[in-house]
């Protein structure tokens, strides 16, 4: 039995249908909604603002802090206990490290930019959706960034290299591997690379090549979401939630 046809009928390099919107939370300095398949991430950015506790402050540059959280009934299984868990703390940390290389906060020493990501619904690929949403929200907040970060998972399901695994594929009863990758657009540097499962050297190399193409598709959507916020058409009213 080999995995030739994907569970949801996608092509092997095809991503789930995506949707992105910037500026969805009026109270935040910047915000974004990012959907990929059934996974949905909402990101809100606040700051640069005063940092507490003070010992975290860096006198050379501002820092970013991520807060990742899955909502209680976001999964398809049991209720998720709200608040921080071992898993959410890990993801918050890898998000910070994935976004850090592009953030330029040298003009804001001793300050912090807080990024909150909530996931109302999840179906695999949450950390990638969270990073992609956070990158849009940071750009929307006007935080100086040298590049965009786009993230997507790649991997191998029973010997077939695929992009953007769904939960069904992650839990497929065979040898599976799931590799979330975050990539910078211009330099193609990898700022997040984790792996779960097993993969051969050849498949790993080809899946990372696939990640380049896949993150580029996410990038295009991120740019589109940001530009749509400022449509030049004077009669266009749907871009600003606070407008109507």
């Amino acid at each position: 039995m080999t995995y030739t046809k994907r569970l949801d009928g996608r092509k092997i390099e095809e991503l789930r249908p995506m949707e992105a919107k910037a500026g969805v939370i009026p109270n935040a300095n910047g915000s974004a909604s990012f959907k990929i398949g059934k996974t949905w991430a909402l990101a809100a950015v606040y700051g640069p603002r005063e940092i507490y506790p003070k010992f975290l402050a860096n006198p050379k540059k501002g820092i970013i802090r991520c807060h990742y959280s899955m909502m209680p009934f976001s999964g398809s299984g049991e209720r998720i206990r709200p608040g921080k868990s071992r898993r959410s703390q890990e993801i918050s940390m890898v998000m910070e490290k994935a976004l850090e290389p592009v953030i330029d906060l040298y003009d804001f020493p001793n300050s912090a930019v807080d990024i909150f990501v909530e996931l109302p619904q999840t179906d695999a690929g949450t950390r990638c959706a969270a990073i992609s949403a956070a990158a849009i929200a940071l750009a929307d907040a006007g935080i100086p960034m040298t590049d965009m970060v786009s993230a997507v998972a790649v991997g191998q399901v029973d010997g077939t290299v695929v992009a953007d695994l769904s939960y069904g594929e992650e839990s497929y009863p065979a040898v599976v591997s799931d590799i979330p990758v975050a990539m910078l657009h211009n330099s193609k540097e990898i700022s997040l690379l984790q792996m779960d499962g097993e993969i051969s050297k050849e498949d790993l190399i080809s899946s990372l090549e696939l990640a380049k193409v896949a993150t580029e598709k996410v990038y295009e959507l991120q740019v589109k979401a940001l530009k749509e916020r400022f449509v030049k058409d004077n009669n266009h009213k749907n871009n600003h939630p606070e407008d109507n």
Binding site: N29, G30, G47, P48, R49, E50, I51, P59, G62, V102, D104, D107, F108, P109, N110, S111, A112, A139, D140, A141, G142, I143, P144, M145, T146, D147, M148, L184, H185, N186, Q222, V223, L226, K227, F230, K232, N234, H240, E242, D243
Partner: protein, 258 residues
């Protein structure tokens, strides 16, 4: 062999390449890496000669010497007040920069400015670590009484003020409010309750539509319509004395719009 990759007034995102080659120079909110110039923020392209810069559409306020801002008293120190500047950094307003009156050694400073008071102040010094000194001893700088304070994105302040203060004086005339715009995005409105309400609506509208062209005409129409609904009497002409902040805004606007 230099080539421009974007058009004037196009919207660009962080990391987007703007030009190739050494004939162009990276300006505000851009950077050069090897042969290419990239944008650092979400904003509008602004090309003046060889310099490419980006006018940010959103973003934090960067404190600058000489800016007039509105702040809130958050603490009383030994010889002055700590002022929240609506940024990540609080500022210090020294007694000697706050009043020309002689202050006795044991005098209660909260009689002059209490915690929670708002003040219109000017930045006199900013260090590299963003330690800020303020002054309140120039004309047009004072403690705020009454009215309401609203908060907008500081990048939209030049648009709210308009060329030579045209936008802010339009709102002043149509609503009958006194309006003081701080460069940090805090705006003080004082007038009748209806006037204040309308002025707030108008300023929020300017904020969300700042990237559009012909906004002044549109605002005039909006304010005329609303003013008749709310029965706000017209003010003949805006007073010239109140245009101190307008000039500041205008210079910045020109700088950004050239």
């Amino acid at each position: 062999m230099s080539e421009l990759l974007v058009q004037e007034r196009a919207i660009v995102t962080p990391g987007e390449s703007l030009a190739v080659g050494m004939d162009f120079l990276p300006g505000e909110n851009t950077y050069r890496e090897n042969e290419k110039i990239y944008s650092k923020v979400l904003g509008l392209v602004n090309i003046s000669g060889r310099v490419i810069k980006i006018t940010a559409l959103s973003g934090p306020y960067v404190l600058q010497t000489g800016d007039k801002i509105i702040g809130k008293v958050i603490d009383i120190a030994f010889s002055g007040w700590r002022i929240n500047t609506n940024t990540a950094y609080s500022a210090m307003l020294n007694v000697k920069d706050a009043t020309s009156r002689f202050i006795r050694k044991e005098e209660d400073l909260s009689k002059i400015l209490a915690i929670g008071d708002y003040v219109v102040v000017k930045i006199i010094n900013v260090t590299s670590q963003n330690l800020i000194d303020l002054t309140m001893k120039e004309p047009g700088l004072h403690k705020i009484f009454g009215g309401r304070i609203i908060n907008i994105n500081s990048q939209k302040v030049p648009r709210v003020i308009g060329k030579k203060g045209s936008m802010v004086s339009l709102v002043k005339d149509k609503t009958g409010c006194d309006i003081t715009v701080g460069q940090n995005g805090l705006i003080w409105l004082k007038g009748t309750p209806e006037g204040e309400y309308l002025a707030e609506q108008a300023i929020k509208m300017i904020e969300t539509r700042s990237h559009q062209e012909g906004l002044t005409e549109k605002m005039e129409k909006f304010l005329d319509e609303q003013a008749s609904v709310l029965h706000i009497p017209k003010r003949p002409t805006s007073s010239v004395t109140e245009s101190t902040e307008s000039t500041q805004g205008y210079e910045k606007f020109q700088e950004r719009d050239n």
